[in-house]
Amino acid sequence: MLSKLIKYEFKATARIFLLTYAVVVVLAGVNAALLSLQPSGSSSLGMVYAGISTMMSLLYGIAAFAAFLLTIVIIVVRFYRMLGDEGYLWFTLPVTPTQQIFGKLIPAIVWTIVTSVIALASVGLVTYRVNWPSQLGPIWRSLASQGFNPGVWLVCGLVFILISLLVNVMLFYAAMAWGPNLIKSSRLGGSVVAYIIIYCALEVLNLIGFLVMVVVFSKTFNAMQTIPSVLTSADVAAINQAGLVFGGYFAVEYLVLAVVGFFITRHFIGRKLNLS
């Protein structure tokens, strides 16, 4: 049943996402073409060309930003609508609340990843003349020569971004599921208030974690200010350790919060559902 829910969620959202991606890629292509055909000299034609190029660059930037904004809006709206009129369909299907949640969550995560990949690919298209390996290679090698492992840091960073994404989507869901029970007269108002409460709690936890880490790793933070010129091997080891503990702490915190968000959502849509 979960695979069927996912299939319908993708069907419902594919059109708008694919259209958005097409706009971003086309604008990236136009910008790449404009850059490659740029006339030399400072003729009036050149000035017009520069004006058009600037406008197209701006449009591309807006489109790329809008793609991310749209992703967030669609993730929220899809779940919110399930708790409204569409709930009469989805909540009368023979599926469990857990399946309902994952039926929305998995496509939301996939679309966010695809949006990020499309955005990165479009940047690559616009800057196709830039040899990124030769640009980034020296930085990578410099970090490696100082005892860091950039590959490990990159993978850890990507995993952390994924966990952050998971917790953010889950907390949106929890707020929307809890909201109607918080303010019975206004589903939207209740959802907003619930999200503010959840967000504040998240920020307090983040602050506490951050302060603890700063105290524990104060010496390391001082060493980090000297990057990249005079790091000792002990500094590098300390920075690696700090990064691991720092990232590990927040990764665990976010995973725990995602699980809490899941149980809050499941509780309210499973036991306290009150469709208006």
Partner: protein
């Protein structure tokens, strides 16, 4: 014949207002039950609780001996009082969705009914007229071989000719090993098909029993009894 649907002391509060107040009813297998009451009497609230769309404040609901759950949803075919399909869906997607999720759905029967109604399955659901949307939903709901059909105001928003079609569809297509609960305040139109009636008023059960017994006891039609009971 056993009790397919039972509620015991069912109460639902919306703030200080009791939408349902200690409602205890039973629906038997094989019966068509009229859930009758004026607007705001609690009919929709009761049906939504049975479907698990609302949580009761107190009391219990049992469908074939089970509390509302995915297992009961596989047995219940529900027609809500408004449309619920997503904007992107064509009629054939709606058929496909029912076919995907309900094991008791008869796709061929649904397509035959839609064809008989002259509904183009390639059309987007939202572009159909309200009456046609309701007919599509009814065709889908009645194409299931469910144990319990819960039909909330199926004839509420349609013209008299469409009412006849809807009632005819219900009578011809429901699973006779199941039960049908029809909620309405338009009693004259459905009286002829009812085995049992439940009168609801202000969230309370005023009367529950056989339609024939009621007619015999009062010497009046159910519609006349209803009009007298709920006279303004």
């Amino acid at each position: 014949m056993g009790a397919l649907l039972q509620t015991q002391g069912l109460t639902k509060q919306f703030g200080p207002t009791a939408a349902l107040d200690n409602v205890t009813i039973t629906c038997q297998t094989g019966h068509i039950v009229g859930l009758l009451g004026p607007n705001g009497s609690g009919k929709t609230t009761l049906i939504k609780i049975v479907n698990g769309l609302l949580s009761p404040t107190s009391g219990t609901v049992l469908i074939d001996g089970m509390a509302p759950s995915p297992a009961t949803k596989a047995r219940v075919s529900y027609l809500p009082d408004h449309t619920y399909f997503d904007n992107w869906m064509k009629v054939r997607d709606c058929v496909g969705l029912f076919d995907d999720f309900y094991a008791d759905f008869d796709k061929a029967k649904a397509n035959d009914m839609l064809k008989a109604l002259g509904i183009d399955t390639a059309k987007t659901f939202r572009t159909l007229s309200k009456g046609t949307q309701e007919k599509v939903q009814l065709a889908l709901v009645m194409s299931r071989r469910a144990q319990l059909y819960l039909l909330d105001e199926p004839i509420g928003g349609v013209d008299p000719a469409a009412r006849d079609f809807i009632l005819d569809t219900i009578i011809k297509n429901y699973n006779e090993d199941g039960a049908v609960v029809i909620s309405t305040h338009l009693i004259a139109d459905i009286e002829k098909v009812l085995d049992d009636v439940i009168f609801l008023n202000a969230g309370r059960v005023m009367h529950s029993g056989s339609a024939d017994d009621l007619r015999e006891k009062t010497g009046k039609s159910v519609d006349e009894v209803f009009r007298e009971a709920f006279k303004c």
